[in-house]
């Protein structure tokens, strides 16, 4: 595997060897011909086992696309994703994804508890343990009381939390999360962040976490991958050397946190073509 490490400028030889996930010159073009649209231009980075990598980037950058390629749900147009050294073809076992479109990833015909239990049943977890894991996970996301409800009877944020509970109850070895906390309030969000960190520590999960909240990206991460606007490239990879375990108050008070935050913010903002900025200066609202 060491022969591959030469292609990663940012990752030194030593860590490359331990990479469980390896994204190599990934490109993705949607459509073909005149309507072709290149979402990912050239993405390379690695994720070590049990590492938590957050991915930030402007809206429409290609984060979801990237995540789907890593999950094996989408075939890249070029480059490849290696998992434990072998190229990803289709979906692997032990992987969980929290989709950005959480509402559509829940099964509206099943109750909340059943939604969470389904992957466990598929993985042949014994009934008693399944039952217990479902209850624990639902309690952890604050939805113990909603277990018998159907998804359409829940608020947006609650649905999102069901999706999170499902992923956590599954205890995947690799967990991909796509803006998982977009629809929950600040307090709940902080709690869920800590829940994710705790689960990672407890079960040794490798995490790729997409967010558009820079505080969150820094708070959670071992490393932050910053994507450029589309066609996306990795504009920077930021090592986050904040002490573990993280703490919502203490960690965020650290001066390094502030620096990292500012650094990532600038990295995201440093767009070659600042379309949004233009828009607000030239456009009258509607």
């Amino acid at each position: 595997m060491s022969m591959l490490s030469t292609v990663h400028a940012e990752v030194d030889k030593e860590t490359a060897v331990q990479n469980i996930l390896e994204v190599e010159h990934l490109t993705k073009t949607y459509g073909a011909g005149s309507t072709a649209y290149t979402a990912l231009a050239d993405i390379s980075f690695g994720v070590r086992s049990q590492e938590l990598v957050t991915v930030v980037g402007p809206s429409g950058a290609g984060k979801t696309t990237l995540l789907k390629c890593i999950a094996g749900l989408m075939e890249p147009s070029g480059g490849q994703v290696l998992f434990e050294g072998s190229p990803v073809r289709g979906v692997r076992k032990g992987l969980a994804v929290v989709f950005q479109d959480y509402a559509r990833s829940l099964y509206p015909w099943f109750s909340v508890a059943r939604n969470v239990a389904l992957p466990l049943a598929a993985a042949k977890v014994p009934r008693a343990e399944r039952e217990e894991r479902v209850s624990t996970a639902l309690e952890a996301v604050g939805l113990a009381a909603a277990r018998h409800k159907k998804p359409y009877q829940l608020s947006g944020g609650m649905q999102q939390r069901v999706a999170i509970a499902r992923a956590l109850a599954y205890r995947p070895s690799v967990l991909l999360m796509d803006e998982p906390f977009a629809s929950v309030d600040a307090q709940t969000r902080a709690e869920l962040e800590d829940l994710v960190l705790k689960a990672r520590a407890e079960f040794g999960i490798t995490l790729v976490f997409i967010t558009h909240d820079i505080d969150e990206a820094v708070y959670l991460a071992d490393r932050v991958v910053v994507l450029s606007p589309p066609p996306a490239r990795v504009s920077e990879t930021v090592q986050v050397a904040l002490p573990m375990p993280r703490d919502q108050i203490a960690t965020k008070e650290l001066p390094e946190f502030g620096h990292l935050r500012a650094h990532v913010y600038r990295a995201v903002k440093n767009r070659p073509d600042d379309v949004a900025g233009q828009a607000t200066t030239t456009a009258t609202a509607s």
Partner: protein
């Protein structure tokens, strides 16, 4: 978290009255459904009687509603009528079940696999337009005139609409739901019963409603042509005896059977497909 703070007391305090209220609500809903049903049938009766009165349908050849009612009363006292009814119903149910067992899985598979779709398309589309009546001699030649032949023909006729509806249904499944199933490593069984079938069920249930009527019609038609016992045979006898009121009374009975059958499917549907109406389907 926040949602666990639901105060349980308000609901537990009024539990008993709640249960009572729920029961009376169910009763009221049943009443309402019955009222609508009666209204609908009354509408049909008025339209028919109106057409007969106005002479759009000459009274000599189209019995009015009172004549029909009289014929029904007579039929209800006739044991052979009930046996015929039972025979027709049996064929219909067996045929529908047989069709469903083959059509639904096939439809799901065809809808999800382009390869299977293209390899079956010609065969399916070729056989689909062949009317069951054209096959009756062949089927009789092979299977005789028993219940099995009748059931086979009914199932065959019901099979195709159900395949088409299921195919469309399985194509309507949300890709995110499928991606979810893929990432969590659902096996074929769970994928089918946990995701594809429920997601496609709005289409499938419509298909079952279509096929149930087709099944009933074909049962009656084969009874007429082949002469297996059933409502169709009774209709045939009445027709050949120039007994108009009995014939129309029997035909109306098949219509009522159709209503019952549809009601049955809808009752199942309202349990299984509620999610679609309440906010799941997109």
């Amino acid at each position: 978290m926040t949602t666990s703070t639901i105060d349980p007391h308000p609901s537990t305090q009024v539990m008993s009255t709640d249960a009572l209220r729920a029961a009376s609500q169910t009763r009221r809903r049943l009443m309402r459904n019955a009222l609508w049903g009666v209204g609908s049938i009354a509408l049909g009766a008025v339209l028919w009687q109106g057409a007969v009165w106005l002479g759009v349908l000459p009274a000599r050849y189209f019995p009015g509603v009172p004549d029909l009612v009289r014929a029904w009363v007579e039929l209800f006292g006739d044991e052979t009528f009930w046996m015929a009814l039972g025979n027709t119903l049996l064929t219909t149910f067996l045929g529908l079940a047989l069709a469903a067992v083959f059509a639904i899985p096939l439809g799901i598979l065809i809808g999800r696999s382009v390869y299977l779709f293209h390899s079956t398309q010609f065969v399916l589309e070729f056989f689909r337009p062949i009317p069951v009546v054209a096959l009756i001699p062949l089927v009789v030649l092979i299977m005789g005139i028993g219940v099995d032949a009748k059931t086979f023909l009914a199932a065959l006729a019901a099979f195709f609409p159900l395949v088409v509806q299921t195919t469309y249904g399985s194509r309507s499944v949300d890709p995110v739901a499928l991606d979810t199933a893929a990432t969590y490593g659902f096996g074929p069984f769970r994928r089918l019963f946990g995701v594809l079938l429920p997601a496609a069920s709005p289409y499938i249930m419509t298909g079952v409603r279509i096929s149930a009527a087709v099944c009933l019609l074909v049962s009656v038609a084969t009874e007429i042509i082949v002469g297996s016992p059933g409502l169709g045979q009774s209709i045939l006898i009445a027709e050949n005896s120039n007994a108009l009121d009995v014939m129309y009374a029997l035909i109306a009975m098949t219509g009522f059977l159709g209503i019952g059958l549809n009601g049955l499917v809808v009752a199942v549907e309202s349990r299984t497909v509620r999610w679609a109406r309440e906010g799941g389907a997109s």
